[in-house]
C-alpha cells in the first residue's frame, strides 16, 4: 500500500503506547496535540537529561522547592518562555501564566501559544508543577 503524507501536518507517536481499541495501531498525536505534547516535554525535561544535549529542557524543577510565591512564579515563567523560544520553532506568541498556590504547595502553569503556519486558534494548556518529595 502506498504511503501518503500530508503536507505541513505534524504527526508524533504517543508515549502511552496504548493500542487503538479497534485497529490495534499505535496511537498517533496529530497537529495541535503533537505540539502541545512537545511543549510539555520540553518544559518537563531537566537540562543534561537528554544524551549529548545538555542544554535541552527547562530548569523549573529547581524552583519547585523555593517559596511558592509570585517571585518564584516569575522565574518559572521566564524559564518556560526561554525554553520554548529556543527549542520549539513551531509555536509563536508564547504567553505563560504561573499561578502560585501556596496552600497546595504547587504552581498552576498555563501556556498560550499560536501554531506557526497553521490555521488553528490560539492553543492553551495547563499543568501543575508540584514538589513531590
Amino acid at each position: 500500500m502506498a504511503i501518503s503524507r500530508e503536507s505541513r501536518a505534524f504527526r508524533d507517536i504517543s508515549l502511552s503506547f496504548d493500542p487503538h481499541p479497534v485497529t490495534k495501531d499505535l496511537p498517533i498525536l496529530k497537529n495541535a496535540r503533537a505540539i502541545t505534547r512537545s511543549v510539555q516535554n520540553l518544559v518537563q525535561t531537566i537540562p543534561t537529561e537528554r544524551f549529548f544535549q545538555p542544554i535541552l529542557g527547562s530548569d523549573v524543577r529547581a524552583s519547585l522547592f523555593d517559596f511558592v510565591d509570585f517571585a518564584t512564579a516569575s522565574v518559572i515563567e521566564e524559564q518556560i518562555i526561554t525554553t520554548i523560544d529556543n527549542f520549539e520553532p513551531r509555536v509563536a506568541n508564547v504567553q505563560v501564566d504561573v499561578d502560585p498556590q501556596p496552600d497546595n504547595n504547587t504552581f498552576n502553569v498555563t501556556i498560550f501559544y499560536d501554531i506557526v503556519g497553521q490555521d488553528f486558534p490560539t492553543q492553551e494548556f495547563s499543568f501543575l508543577l508540584e514538589a513531590t518529595r
Binding site: 504511503i3 503524507r5 501536518a9 505534524f10 504527526r11 508524533d12 507517536i13 504517543s14 508515549l15 498517533i28 498525536l29 503533537a34 505534547r37 512537545s38 511543549v39 510539555q40 516535554n41 520540553l42 525535561t45 537528554r50 544524551f51 549529548f52 544535549q53 535541552l56 527549542f87 520549539e88 520553532p89 513551531r90
Partner: protein
C-alpha cells in the same frame, strides 16, 4: 533508503542518519523537533547505536598491537610475541663504604636493604642493595669498595605454594625495578630461604630441573612470576615457600644524587648486628645515574615487533637497535655501522655508538656490560666495538626581525624562540642518522609568534676536539658534510688553546688550496691591534669536499674551554646538515646566537626602508670562533 555509513562514532551523525531514514520511510513527521515524543525514541536508538559502535571500535582497536591504547592490552599483545616491556629502572650510584669496628668477626656483611640516603634537588632518596654484600675486616676496618647502590626501597614478599592451578604469584607493588628481583624457593629439604631461581628470558636450553622463573607484566604495571611446569623448568612442590625481594624505585627522579649519608645495617659472620665504632664514611665513585621510567606504550609498540623480527639475533642494524634498547634501557639513540662501510674498512667489526638519555657518554663499565650481553645475541666471528659518541653540533646565528607594534617584551619573544628551537631540536634532529632541515627551521622560527616578520639564519657545524694535554698526538675530525670553501679563508675557526713550549693563546685557521683541499695553520693573536701572526704554517690539512680535518703531530698544553676541549667550527656547503654514519647530530641551541632586530618597515616606522638594518646572509670574517 539513504546511504548508511556503518562506521559512525558520532552521536549527532547517527541521530541524523536515523532521521534521514524516517524522513524517507515514515508517516511520522515530528522527529525533527527536539520536544517531540519521537525525538526521545530517536535519542534512545542513537545512544544505543553509539554505545555499540564505540564498544565494537574499542574491541577491534584493542585487539591489535598497532591500535591498542590501554597499557594492559598493549603489554598483553606484546607478550604474545615474546616481548617483556622494560620496568622502571633504579638510578645506580657506585660508592665506597668504610666501616670501623671493634668486632672480632673475620667478615662483615652489609645486609640487603637500605644503605644510604642521597639528595637530589632538595628531595631525599633512599638507596638500597638488593642482596647481602660481605667483605673481610682488616685491622678493625671493613671496606665495601665499588658498591652499586640502587635508588629505592627494598621489599620482600613471600608466597606459599598451594598446588592449585589458579594460584598466581603477583607482586602487588608498582614501580618495581625488575632487574633487582631475587627469587628464592624453599622446598621441604632446604634451609634458610632456600635456593635461588634465575630469571629465564625464553625456554631455550631449559629442562625439567632448571631452577628458573619467568616474569610478565600484568595489570596496573605490576609483575607476575611464573614457574616451570616440570618440562620446561622445575615444577614447584606443594608447600614450598617462595621469597621474592625487590626494589621499588622513583626511576628518573633518583638520577644525580652524589652525596650520601649512611643508614645501613651491618652484621658479623654469625648474623649479630655490628655497631660501627665511628661514623661510616661514604665516598662516591660515580653519582646516581641510569634511572629510567617504565617503558612507554609507544616504545612497546615500536620495539616489540622489532625484537620479534630480530628473533634475539643481532644481524641487521635494526636488530642491534632493538636489542641494545632492551639490554641498556638508558639508550636514547643507537648508531650501528658495519665495518665494511668505514674508511679504511674494518671487516668483521660492528661499530656501535650509543647516545644515553642522560649525558653524552656511556661509562666504560656500561660499555663492557653491554658488549658482554650482546655476545649472547650476535653472530660468531663478528666483533662489536662500542665507541664513544661522535657529536656533530649544528649551531645557528639567526637574526630575527620582529614587528615592534606586536611585541610587549623583546626578551620574552627571544625566550619563546629559544624554547621553540629546543622543541624543534628534540623532535626532529637530535639522533643518529638525523638531518637538520634548514627550511623547516626557518619556518619554525617564523611561526613562533605573529610578531616575527622574517629571519636570516646562518648555519655552522662544530665538533669538539678532545685534546690530550702535554702529549704529542695526531688528530682527525670528520664532519661528514662538505665544507663551504671561501677562497679568502675564515672557513675553519676554533676556540683558543695553549701549545707546549710556547706562550699565549693560539687558534686554528685555514688557507684554501687546490682541488678542494687546504692547509690548517696555527695563529696567535698579537697583543696589539688585534692582529694575528702565523705560528705554525702547516699544522694539518683540511678536505673541504669530504668535510675532514687532519692535524699533524701537535702538543696541547691547555685549552680555553673546559674539559680539554677545543671547539672547531666550519661552514657547511649545504644548509641542510646530515649525521653521517656514526655521527650523532645535535642541534646546540645553547651555543646558537639569536639576535632580535626591529623590522622598521613592517612596524611602520620607516616605510621607505631608510634605516632598515640589513643582515648579511653569510657568516662573518673573524679569524677565531665566537
Amino acid at each position: 533508503m539513504p546511504f548508511t555509513k556503518f562506521t559512525n562514532l558520532d552521536f549527532d551523525q547517527i541521530r541524523s542518519q536515523i532521521k534521514d531514514y524516517l524522513r524517507a520511510n515514515s508517516t511520522f513527521t515530528d522527529f525533527d523537533f527536539e520536544g517531540s515524543n519521537f525525538s526521545v525514541l530517536i535519542d534512545t536508538l542513537a545512544y544505543n547505536t553509539y554505545i555499540t559502535a564505540y564498544n565494537s571500535n574499542m574491541i577491534v582497536n584493542e585487539s591489535f598491537l598497532d591500535s591498542a591504547t590501554l597499557r594492559e592490552n598493549v603489554v598483553s599483545l606484546a607478550r604474545n610475541i615474546g616481548y617483556v616491556p622494560r620496568s622502571r629502572s633504579a638510578a645506580k650510584a657506585r660508592v665506597n663504604l668504610t666501616v670501623q669496628t671493634t668486632s672480632t668477626s673475620p667478615t662483615m656483611t652489609l645486609e640487603a636493604g637500605l644503605v644510604c640516603v642521597g639528595s637530589v634537588n632538595e628531595s631525599q632518596f633512599v638507596f638500597s642493595v638488593p642482596e647481602n654484600v660481605t667483605t673481610t675486616i682488616n685491622s678493625g676496618t671493613a671496606k665495601f669498595n665499588d658498591l652499586d647502590v640502587c635508588q629505592g626501597t627494598y621489599l620482600k614478599k613471600q608466597f606459599v605454594v598451594d598446588g592449585s592451578l589458579d594460584q598466581r604469584f603477583i607482586l602487588q607493588n608498582p614501580f618495581i625495578d625488575t632487574s633487582t628481583i631475587v627469587v628464592k624457593v624453599k622446598g621441604a629439604s632446604d634451609s634458610g630461604e632456600g635456593r635461588e631461581y634465575e630469571l629465564a628470558q625464553n625456554i631455550l636450553n631449559l629442562n625439567k630441573n632448571s631452577e628458573i622463573y619467568l616474569l610478565q607484566e600484568v595489570q596496573d604495571e605490576r609483575y607476575e612470576l611464573l614457574f616451570g611446569d616440570g618440562y620446561f623448568g622445575k615444577k614447584l612442590e606443594n608447600g614450598s615457600i617462595i621469597t621474592v625481594s625487590y626494589i621499588t624505585t622513583d626511576g628518573i627522579d633518583g638520577n644525580g644524587a652524589k652525596n650520601f649519608a649512611y643508614s645501613g645495617r651491618v652484621t658479623d659472620n654469625l648474623g649479630n648486628v655490628i655497631v660501627p665504632s665511628s661514623d661510616v664514611t661514604i665516598s662516591t665513585t660515580s653519582k646516581a645515574q641510569n634511572g629510567g621510567e617504565i617503558e612507554s606504550i609507544d616504545s612497546i609498540k615500536y620495539f616489540a615487533p622489532r625484537i620479534y623480527s630480530s628473533q634475539y639475533r643481532a644481524v641487521t642494524a635494526r636488530d642491534y637497535e632493538a636489542i641494545i634498547q632492551s639490554i641498556y634501557p638508558n639508550t636514547e639513540s643507537v648508531s650501528v655501522v658495519g665495518g665494511e662501510e668505514l674508511d679504511p674498512p674494518e671487516f668483521g667489526n660492528v661499530i656501535i655508538s650509543i647516545k644515553p638519555k642522560n649525558g653524552d657518554f656511556v661509562s666504560d663499565f656500561d660499555k663492557e656490560s653491554i658488549a658482554t650481553k650482546l655476545k649472547n645475541y650476535s653472530l660468531s666471528g663478528i666483533n662489536q666495538k662500542i665507541v664513544d659518541l661522535k657529536v656533530l653540533f649544528v649551531e645557528i646565528d639567526s637574526a630575527v626581525y620582529y614587528n615592534n607594534a606586536k611585541v610587549s617584551n623583546i626578551n620574552d619573544l627571544k625566550s619563546k624562540v629559544s624554547s621553540t628551537l629546543n622543541t624543534f631540536a628534540t623532535a626532529n634532529i637530535n639522533q643518529f642518522g638525523g638531518r637538520f632541515k634548514y627550511s623547516k627551521l626557518c619556518q619554525t622560527i617564523d611561526s613562533t609568534d605573529s610578531a616575527i616578520t622574517s629571519n636570516i639564519t646562518r648555519v655552522r657545524i662544530r665538533r669538539n676536539l678532545k685534546t690530550l694535554i702535554n702529549t704529542s698526538a695526531q688528530y682527525e675530525l670528520c664532519y661528514g658534510n662538505k665544507f663551504r670553501m671561501d677562497k679568502n679563508g675564515f672557513n675553519i675557526k676554533s676556540t683558543g688553546f695553549g701549545l707546549s713550549g710556547k706562550s699565549g693563546t693560539f687558534y686554528f685557521t685555514d688557507t684554501p688550496g687546490e682541488n678542494g683541499k687546504g692547509v690548517i695553520s696555527v695563529v696567535k693573536e698579537s697583543n696589539d691591534k688585534g692582529e694575528y701572526e702565523v705560528v705554525i704554517k702547516s699544522a694539518g690539512t683540511v678536505d673541504y669536499v669530504k668535510g675532514e680535518i687532519l692535524l699533524n703531530t701537535i702538543t696541547f698544553s691547555s685549552t680555553v674551554k673546559e674539559n680539554n676541549i677545543v671547539e672547531i667550527q666550519a661552514v657547511p656547503d649545504s644548509n641542510d646538515v646530515i649525521g653521517l654514519k656514526d655521527l650523532y647530530l645535535s642541534f646546540s641551541v645553547a651555543d646558537s646566537e639569536i639576535n632580535m632586530i626591529k623590522d622598521t618597515i613592517t612596524s611602520g616606522e620607516q616605510i621607505s626602508g631608510v634605516g632598515y638594518k640589513v643582515t648579511s646572509s653569510y657568516l662573518n670574517g673573524e679569524l677565531k670562533r665566537g
